[in-house]
Amino acid sequence: MTEPSDLDRRRRFDDIIGCVYVPLQRYLRRRADVPTAEDVLGDVLLVLWRRADDIPSEGTLAWCYAVARRCLANNLRGAQRRARLLTRLTELPPPPTEESDPDLVAAFDALSDADRELLRLWAWEQLAPREIAQVLDISPNAASIRLHRATGRLRRHLAKRKDRPAGGQLQGQRGTEASR
């Protein structure tokens, strides 16, 4: 097998970026304000370019998410940037969907950071457990079990809210009798 030419590398990189650019952008925008997301996206692209030969052809997107996760963590480590993020986060509009499913939003917010991140990767990035494992650098076994537990905890939080007499006003089909 011959070494790929510079042109081949560039083409492959362009192809990869074409596939992962928007998903990466969305990943970062879900977790940071716009300026931070832009900064980190630049960092991610830099890393991807440096490591173009390491990018796997299988599981490419999850691999790139893992890079983005580390770049975002690096970015947030800086106290100054963290302060900027917090300032800007306060300027972000509330999630517009919150009113449509307040029970779920409240149940989701009641979870730990780790649970929330698992569920984000699962439901927002639409990753399978083995891909989640790749992003979080844990074993697929651990990812599967933690995801299972996280969904279980989310359901329990939802059930608690459902059982509250004042809860679930938007869930017309639900019974209103409190069981506890």
Binding site: D6, Q25, R30, E38, R50, T97, A128, R130, S144, I145
Partner: protein, 208 residues
């Protein structure tokens, strides 16, 4: 994945702040190109020539070792599977031979669910006592289902350098919870290092 999981996932996706109906303006195209050009221009000289590979995380290419196809058929269609247990000795101290799957066996991975776990024909807990080039020896301390052997040998398929579960190598002295289907150890969260949480899942799945 169960229908209930699908529903929960769909419901969760609806509170995604970047849900298609609420997506904020994407980065302008010129900004994207600027970032990309900056990224490539910064290090063109060093990256376009073959360089020492950057450190990489082994797990990125770690083979996934469960026979998901078998699992999927068994779980979805309820097809009975037959274990390969040629070494099993029906009387007294006995051994059971299993294998970890080949690296390409898992094109898809069933999401962990206690209900699926409960359908596994072989399930036990034990401690890895010996790791050799071609097999891992596990001394069983508890059988949940499908056997009574004292020792289980997990062999390494041809072409693999060591026995591993989901890309993580077995460690001597570590306790594992293991399920197997058709003589092949299941990964995908259905086998792995013992933890209170994992053991609780086994207890729930194989209760009674």
């Amino acid at each position: 994945m169960t229908g209930t999981d699908d529903q929960l996932r769909t419901r969760l996706s609806a509170i995604d702040p970047l849900h298609p109906t609420t997506t904020p303006e994407p980065l302008a195209r010129y900004r994207a190109e600027e970032i990309l050009e900056h990224a490539m221009g910064t290090i063109t000289d060093t990256t376009l020539t073959p360089a020492a590979p950057a450190p990489r995380t082994r797990r990125f290419r770690a083979p996934l070792l469960a026979a998901a196809a078998v699992l999927a058929v068994a779980a979805a269609a309820g097809v009975a599977v037959v274990m390969t247990d040629g070494d099993a000795d029906p009387g007294g101290s006995s051994t059971l031979s299993l294998s970890v799957g080949s690296g390409d066996a898992m094109s898809s991975c069933l999401q962990f669910d206690v209900a699926i776990l409960a359908g596994m024909p072989i399930a036990f807990a034990g401690t890895a006592t010996e790791i050799s080039a071609d097999a891992v020896t596990i001394e069983v301390d508890r059988w949940y289902r499908g056997g009574d052997a004292d020792v289980v040998w997990v062999s390494v398929p041809d072409g693999q350098t060591s026995a591993a579960l989901d890309g993580v190598s077995f460690q001597a002295g570590t306790r594992y919870l293991v399920t197997a289907t058709d003589g092949v150890v299941n990964g995908c969260g259905f086998s792995g290092e013992a933890s209170p949480e994992f053991e609780a899942a086994y207890a729930e799945a194989f209760a009674g």
